[in-house]
């Protein structure tokens, strides 16, 4: 892991045990960025769900494949990028888990939770280079002091 100014980059093997490692890093970074405990948990969950998608669905749980995480703290927001080596997916193809006919489905809530907890969620499928998910959480205006050069512990 490197911490240079307001950027943290991590490379993880595709192993579900690494999800907890990413959660810990996410909590530290989001705490440093100035988010409340409640928002830290939301960001943590969004990263957890994104990473599960990357490892399980993207990299098919293949330990020889990797997931890249990049956290960047801006004055007004935290931007997180999660890239896998999979073939990508269309988030619009996932059925709405809140529809009556889907409420009792066993799966299909991960992307819904990510969208609920983050301000922005984008998926960029890069031909031959995997899939990159971009998550953005904005700081509340009363938290928007100069946080552009915070050092991550």
């Amino acid at each position: 892991m490197t911490a240079e100014g307001s950027v943290v980059e991590v490379v993880l093997e595709s192993d579900l045990r690494n999800v907890e490692v990413a959660e810990e890093i996410t909590r530290r970074v989001s705490g440093t960025a100035g988010f409340t405990e409640d928002d830290q948990h939301k960001i943590d969950m969004a990263v957890h769900e994104t990473l599960i998608n990357a490892i399980w669905h993207g990299n098919k749980n293949d330990p020889s494949k990797h997931v890249w995480l990049r956290y960047e703290i801006f004055r007004d927001r935290l931007e997180i990028r999660v890239r896998d080596q999979g073939n990508g997916y269309d988030p619009a193809s996932v059925p709405d888990p809140l529809k009556d006919e889907n409420v009792l489905n066993v799966s299909g809530r991960g992307i819904f939770l990510i969208r609920t907890f983050m301000d922005e969620y984008r998926v960029e499928n890069q031909a031959g280079q995997g899939t990159e998910v971009i998550l953005v959480k904005r700081l509340n205006s009363n938290n928007s002091g100069d946080q552009s050069r915070r050092e991550v512990p």
């Binding site: 579900l16 957890h48 599960i52 409420v103 066993v106 799966s107 809530r109 991960g110 819904f112």
Partner: protein, 118 residues
């Protein structure tokens, strides 16, 4: 910390004290096997005490739904006890709060199974 489950029998109800993480992988698998095992033994009234659950993800929520439907399909009842704020909030935003029978008092929760039986 992975998921741990301790079972107690109170009258006709199997109380499962769950602690740790209910997440994709070990936690979800353990919960699924536990429900199947109890149904296999004829224990169809399950009360999951989630007070010490530290983390639940979308797969964990799915596993609760799966347990609920599996038990219901076999003529039993799966109810939830002592939700943490995080689990409570997740069930609300996923519209599952009204699906489950949720309690915060164990004695009343146990009683609710008996009322249904009579």
């Amino acid at each position: 910390m992975s998921m741990k489950a301790t079972l107690r029998q109170v009258n006709s109800v199997t109380v499962v004290d769950v602690s740790g993480r209910i997440t994709l992988g070990e936690g979800c698998t353990q919960l699924r096997e536990l429900v199947r095992e109890q149904l296999g033994k004829g224990n169809k009234n399950l009360l999951l005490n989630l007070a010490d659950v530290t983390y639940i993800d979308s797969s964990g929520i799915g596993e609760l739904v799966s347990g609920y439907t599996t038990v219901s399909n076999q003529g039993g009842k799966l109810k939830l006890l002592n939700l943490t704020k995080k689990v409570h909030d997740l069930l609300q935003i996923t519209k599952l709060y009204t699906v489950f029978d949720i309690h915060d008092d164990e004695a009343k929760a146990i009683g609710s199974f008996e009322k249904t039986e009579s």
